[in-house]
Amino acid sequence: MEILSFEETKKILLKYKLPFCRTEIFNSKEKALVFAKQIGFPVVLKIHAQKIFHKSEIGGVKVNIKNEEEFGVAWDEIDKNIRGKNIEGVLVQEMVSGNEIAIGMKRDSQFGPVLMFGLGGIFIEIIKDVAFRIAPIGKEEAIRMIKETKGFEILNGARGKKKIDLINVAEMIVHLSNLSIKEENIQSIDFNPVMVTDKQALITDFRIII
């Protein structure tokens, strides 16, 4: 069991029309900084490694980096934290805001790919408010799946919040369904969080297990 490399992950996401926030991988602090400036602060730094499953626990993630100075400090800290560990590189990502949702897949030995939808962050870890479907599914079924969760009300404009664009999320689930059916070597996937607003749905953290 290992995490798919960033380059391969990127290829897969593009192939199946799964939109993700602007992300590149670097091993050089200088080149990374150039990219950070290009996409604009604030940015996120996080390591990508084939065998590290808990990247924040070991200090491999720094968020909300607002300027060049903070960038330098964050990079050095990560560098120190991961010393001696085998990593592919450090991802530089744009910071995206929105509602956090989680979308995922697990290949079941009996029924094949099982798709999952839920609210992201603390909701998925503690409340476990999620809905499942066996792939393949179409857009209508994906919408039913989203509406099945209790958290849907939060996304649907509870307490005067802006409603998210349900269609974007449903399409993302359908694309994940297609991916799961075709890419049989992929065992499990987490897109958590996916940031959703009334306009878009962007994957900001991805983990594909092969």
Partner: protein, 442 residues
Amino acid sequence: MKKIFEPKSIALIGASDELGTVGLGLANNLLSGKDLRKIYFINPKRKEVLGIKCFDTILDIKEKIDLAIIAVPAKIVKSIVLNCCEKKVGAIIIVSSGFKEAGNAKAEEEIKEMVKKYKILLIGPNCLGIINPSLNLNASFAPLTPKKGSIAFLSQSGALLDSVIDRDKLGFSKVVSYGNEADMDLSDFIEYLKTDKETKVIAIYFEGVKDGHKFMRIAKEVSKIKPIVAIKSGRSDKGKAAAGTHTGTLAGDYNVYQTAMKQSGVILVDTLEELFDVSLALSLSPRCENGIGIVTNGGGLGVLTVDYCSEMGIEIPSLSKSTISFLEKNKAMEKVVSKNNPLDVLGDALSDRYTVAIESLLKQDDINGLIVISTPQLMTEHDKNAKIIAELRNKYPLKPIVCCFLGGQSVALAIEYLEKNGIPNYTDTKRAVKSIKGLIKK
């Protein structure tokens, strides 16, 4: 499959007259239908069993054999199967255990290959057999034969099947203990039942399925025509190896099964009682849309029933203006002040009040089914109530009525009448609510 469920000739290999043996159980059960088909016994160690001549091998029988039942020790099963293949029997049931379930997968595989080569259907091994009550066929070693009915019961467990037959007054169309599924699996039987005229509902007990995709494909198709109700064991998470993702951790085995069942249109239930409660309701009543009316002569039970309904997502529509004015105009309802759903006809209700209440609710468009509660008050006319319910059911055949006549001796005759007239009655309101939930189309 006709060779299995409607055989014209059966050979029992391993027939015995020794008390307490599977061979004797099978022999007795088969003989109960001996006027309808030819029964042959095979046992080289005996001249006769229960007065029937024993052949040494199946090959010694001149006539054609539709169904061969094998109840011999595991180690000689393979050679017996080979005999059956050479005899070109229509189908084989291997009752014997000691195969995959006992770590002996190789022997099972060899037998599977053999029947495949000869294109012979195989049930088992490690099963109880099959029963077709309408043809008085009991090709199993179950201690009893159930009466004829319209529920088909497919069970991975033989012992559980025994207890269901023993305990319930239910009638069955087909009963199958399918064992290790070396050849024919659960899905094959579901597919067969799709066109079985006697079966209205398919009830299943299973531990797992052999081929998830095949199961989903067939169940999806069949559940559109006949309801499938199932209970699955093995639900606790055994703490599987880490999956590396949240999704993997959350998608435990039972969650995946729940999802697969739901997507295939299978009604998954929690208890055996529920399995047969829901199956009974489905075998007797039409399915309906959401929206249920409740008539009761006990306020408390009405409230309790509403609680269960709301927990299970069952809607309780308010009474419409026309329903209320209909009730107001009716003399029998004079004393009933609050005209709500649930409609409490009060403790002193006689049958005339029940009649008006039930009919007024059945008439309302958005009430699609009814729960009628009758508690034994001093003046309650249970028997009359049962009669009017049967009459109104016939008058409104598209709206299911589920009864909850609560009590002992005083309601026994009324319940008997309801059952005779094909109206399900449950001795607890929660069971009634769960059953009507099973009737509601999703």
